[in-house]
Structures are given as structure tokens and as C-alpha cells.
């Protein structure tokens, strides 16, 4: 079956709107993806027909809501090739998942233990570990990157020692689009007995990982990056790890028995799911996964690669344009600057032309410091973008260049 992008665009109501008098060109997909009608309908259906609190009620609505929510957990389990449904913890998003793990490790780390993070992490995968180091006396070490925006694996191997307890890397860099060699990182980390957390926030919309064959210890992702709603995400943890980690938050749902003397905690996954969760969000996360499967991850990857190649070659025709992140293995993200022009100015002009791109440091200041730039313009493409939209971006950037230089 050929990839019919025009037909796919029909599924996304927002793509019909215009911005500043121009048809919207949405190229900020790495920040958040747009939502297809069926995901929106799923949220509406929940609130209009079976809204109830889950896991507690004996009444019909509560049971329907519980079933739908648990069904969504199974969809996530299946999608990411996770062995047990209880290894899927619903979170409010990637950041929540990372903090949950970092907090859990507070009681497992000792002074002098080492934690490795990559030089291309989002702030959300740096700050929680710094906080963890402050609490425990562990030491944070950084896997450096090269000019192309690839991790320097030789240095990584040297940094790995028997002191290394944890390794955290993103599967894909949000600022550069680099796909990191997580298979190799996981294998090598396991050889020294370190646990590995993979931040899938930027990859989950493009790459469908098999978490069992990958052998990741933890994996986190957000629904809103993959056509689902904001405010919901998933944490995968190997059962033995999740059993070892203490609960993150206390409250309802996560207990087995409570007396004022002592509380015993519920089993997985409820131990980590205190309080009423984002029920509609969780169910719609499942609907988003269903939607993406209908399009097909292979088709998505092929089409997005095509867009990436086309956009890269067209943008590079602009004199003075430099792309940051030129790894051979990339998702459809292009971070760039025009010589002598501040990214903020380019972003302002292209927005006026109806094009949504991101400008700034993309919550990855260490990367900007590495390249000694204040930020970049980032265009990130999704399977519902078109070559015509790439052309509009190129024209808009040319216009901005003309006006600003």
C-alpha cells in the first residue's frame, strides 16, 4: 500500500486551520505531535459515556472505565514488547517517569557510586540525576559527543567501571535528532552491572522498540509525542527493579493495608500509581497507539526519512545555513542556524508566515554550549507533513534571511 499523506492529513482536524493568514505548517512535532480525530473522540467518549473512578467501584461505569484503562496498559505492553502488563507504570509523562526512578535509587546508591548521562540529554534527564547525586553523594559523569552530534563510544567504554551503577541516555536527542546506539550502550553497561534507563520521549513516535530484546532496565515515554494526549506517559521497568524500588508517592490506590502503625504497599503496578490517575489520558494513549499501528511504524519511518532527506538537501541550498546534528542515523529533526542571524529572529519571521518551528536551546543547554551558539531553529517533521510544506519552510527561511541580513 502506498503512503497517502493527503488521506492521513484528513485525520488531523488542526491541520485545516490557518495561522497569520496562511495555512498552518506544523513543524514542531518534536515538542508535541498533533492529535487525530479518533484520539480526540476517545477522550470525548470517555467523559460523555463512562466517566468514573477506576479500580474501586463495583458499579458498571467504574468497571467499564477500569477495563478500558487496563486495556490501554495492555496496548502499551504489546506495543513496546513488554513481558508483563504490571511492568507498565502509567505516569504523567517522561519527566515523571525519570523522577520516579531517580527518587527510587536514592535508597540504593552509596557515596562514590557513579552515574553516567550523555552530553545530549534534555534537562529533564540531567537535573533529576544531579539531584540524586546531591542526595546520595554519587558522582555524575558525562558521555561526550563529537561535532556531528554522536556519542563518543570509546570514552563511554572508559567511563564504565565497576563503580557505575546507572546509565541514562536518550534513544534520540531532541535538539539534534541523533539516534543513539542504545543496544550497544545497554550491553556494555550490563557487563559492569549497571542498570540502564532509556529516555524514549523523542524516539517513541518514530521507532517501535522491543524492550525485551533490547534488555533495557527502564524505558520512559510520553503519549503526547505519539499522537496521544498531554499529561500521560509510561514507565517500563523490569519487574525485579520495580520490586526493588520504594514507592514514589503515598496515597490511595498504592496500598494493600493501612493502619496508623504501618502500611503495606500494593503490588505492581499500583505501588507506583498513587491517587486517581489521568484516566481519559491513559485510555486515549491506547487509542493513539492503535492509530499509529493502522498507519504502520515501518511506513512512518520510511516516509519520515524521505522527508528528512528532502528537507536536508533543500535547506542546505540556502547560503550560510548550517545544520547541527549530522549523524548518519537521525530521526526527522533538523536543527539549524543562518550565519550571523539569531534563531529567535528567524522563528519570529517564519511564524508570521504560518510556519511553526521551535527556536531556542530546546532544554538542552549543554549542547548549545558545545557548539557555542545561543540556540537553533528546529524543524521536526511527522508523517502528516508534506514535501510542499518543506518547500514553504525553505521559502520562509529565505525570506527571513533576506529581511534580517
Amino acid at each position: 500500500m502506498s503512503f497517502d499523506v493527503q488521506k492521513i492529513r484528513e485525520d488531523f482536524p488542526i491541520l485545516k486551520r490557518s495561522v497569520n493568514g496562511y495555512p498552518l505548517v506544523y513543524l514542531d512535532n518534536a515538542a508535541t505531535s498533533q492529535k487525530p480525530q479518533e484520539v480526540i473522540d476517545c477522550i470525548v467518549a470517555y467523559y460523555s459515556t463512562y466517566n468514573a473512578n477506576i479500580h474501586r467501584g463495583v458499579h458498571t461505569l467504574s468497571q467499564e472505565a477500569t477495563e478500558a484503562y487496563e486495556e490501554a496498559r495492555k496496548k502499551i505492553q504489546k506495543h513496546f514488547h513488554i513481558q508483563y502488563p504490571e511492568e507498565v507504570i502509567f505516569t504523567s509523562g517522561t519527566t515523571h517517569g525519570i523522577n520516579l526512578v531517580a527518587n527510587g535509587f536514592s535508597s540504593l546508591l552509596n557515596e562514590g557510586d557513579e552515574i553516567l548521562v550523555s552530553a545530549m540529554e534534555h534537562h529533564s534527564n540531567i537535573v533529576p540525576w544531579q539531584m540524586l547525586c546531591e542526595r546520595t553523594g554519587a558522582i555524575l559523569k558525562v558521555i561526550p559527543m563529537n561535532e556531528k552530534g554522536e556519542l563518543v563510544m570509546e570514552v563511554f567504554e572508559n567511563l564504565l567501571t565497576e563503580k557505575t551503577q546507572l546509565v541514562f541516555v536518550n534513544h534520540v536527542s531532541n535538539a539534534l535528532g541523533t539516534i543513539n546506539p542504545i543496544e550497544e550502550i545497554i550491553q556494555k553497561s550490563h557487563k559492569v552491572g549497571a542498570a540502564v534507563l532509556i529516555d524514549g520521549a523523542q524516539s517513541c513516535a518514530h521507532i517501535k522498540p522491543n524492550l525485551q530484546t533490547l534488555d533495557a532496565d527502564f524505558y520512559v515515554a510520553s503519549a503526547h509525542k505519539m499522537c496521544g494526549p498531554t499529561g500521560v506517559g509510561m514507565l517500563y521497568g523490569k519487574k525485579e527493579w520495580l520490586e526493588k524500588l520504594p514507592p514514589y508517592q503515598g496515597g490511595g490506590e498504592m496500598i494493600k493495608e493501612v493502619t496508623f502503625e504501618k502500611t503495606t504497599y500494593a503490588g505492581l503496578p499500583h505501588k507506583f500509581e498513587a491517587g486517581t490517575p489521568n484516566i481519559a489520558g491513559g485510555i486515549a494513549f491506547g487509542a493513539a497507539i492503535d492509530y499509529l499501528h493502522k498507519i504502520g511504524f515501518e511506513a512512518i519511518a520510511n516516509y519520515e526519512n524521505e522527508l528528512l532527506e528532502y528537507a536536508t538537501s533543500e535547506l542546505l541550498k540556502i547560503k550560510g545555513l548550517k545544520i547541527y546534528g549530522t549523524s548518519k542515523k537521525k530521526t526527522s529533526v533538523i536543527s539549524f542556524n543562518l550565519e550571523g542571524i539569531h534563531p529567535f529572529d528567524i522563528g519570529t519571521i517564519v511564524d508570521k508566515l504560518g510556519i511553526a518551528v521551535r527556536t531556542g536551546h530546546h532544554c538542552a543547554q549543554p549542547i548549545m554550549d558545545f557548539y557555542k551558539i545561543p540556540g537553533t531553529v528546529r524543524a521536526s517533521f511527522s508523517f502528516y507533513n508534506t514535501k510542499e510544506e518543506v518547500d514553504r519552510l525553505v521559502k520562509a527561511v529565505q525570506k527571513a534571511q533576506m529581511m534580517l541580513s
Binding site: N20, I341, H342, F344, D345, T348, K352, M403, L404
Partner: protein
């Protein structure tokens, strides 16, 4: 000239532009013509950190009026700074404290003053007013 007159002048100046392109071209020109803050004054204590573009602001008193100089690393931000400086510089602290900024809305640059824009301009206006309050306090003590 009073702040109110200067604001009216700017509203008239900007009303000449029919579309956003011309207006932005004008702002960019203003940005380019802005006398730069002296490099020795571009220190961290003069830096107003927006999330995206940086703004440096310096203030000094001359014959009862506050003189502002400023700079930014982004040219559009700089153009808007030029507009603000034209209105607020060389005025008394009292006038600066009392002045409102609704003219920004009228010249069609409101979006740049939304707090979510993160370009440092909102903080810049706040900082200008703070300088005015500080200089006024100095005068009265």
C-alpha cells in the same frame, strides 16, 4: 517631549505600514540603528535573561532624567527595544513610573510583550520601571 506625545508619534509612524512585512522591516531597521550599549556595560548584572534572546539594559541619571541604553543579541528584539527606549529614555523617574505600555498593543506588537514570548521584553519594561523607582527613591532621600 512627553511620553504620551512620543507614544502618539510612534502609533502614527507604525500606522503607515499596511502589512506585517513592512512593519517588521521597519523594526529591523530600528534595531540596526539602535546605538549600542557600551561593551564594558554588557555585564551579567545588566543582563535581563529571557529564555531565547538576551537583553542588556543600562540606566543612568542626567539632569533629572533617566537615560537608558540597551542591546540584544536578536535583531527583532533590538528593534522593539529601540521603540521602548525612544519612549522611556530621557524622561523623569515619575513619568516613567506612571507611563502605561498600551501603545505597544496599538502599534501591533502586543505578541512580543506576552509573558510566554520569553524574549526578555516584559522583564525589560519591568526593569526600566524598577530603575525609575530606585532613582526616585535616591532623589527623595
Amino acid at each position: 517631549m512627553t511620553i504620551a506625545t512620543l507614544q502618539e508619534e510612534l502609533i502614527e509612524e507604525f500606522s503607515l505600514f499596511d502589512d506585517w512585512l513592512d512593519k517588521y522591516e521597519h523594526i529591523i531597521e530600528l534595531g540596526k540603528s539602535l546605538p549600542l550599549i557600551e561593551d564594558t556595560l554588557k555585564t551579567d548584572d545588566k543582563l535581563i535573561k529571557g529564555c531565547q534572546s538576551k537583553v542588556w539594559l543600562h540606566a543612568e541619571m542626567k539632569e533629572g532624567n533617566i537615560i537608558f541604553t540597551a542591546d540584544s543579541d536578536a535583531i527583532i528584539t533590538k528593534g522593539i527595544i529601540a521603540v521602548l527606549i525612544r519612549v522611556f529614555s530621557n524622561q523623569t523617574p515619575e513619568e516613567i513610573i506612571q507611563a502605561d505600555t498600551s501603545f505597544i498593543d496599538e502599534i501591533g506588537l502586543k505578541e512580543h510583550l506576552s509573558p510566554t514570548r520569553a524574549n526578555g521584553l516584559v522583564s525589560m519594561i519591568k526593569q526600566m520601571k524598577l530603575y525609575a523607582v530606585a532613582f526616585q527613591a535616591q532623589k527623595t532621600t
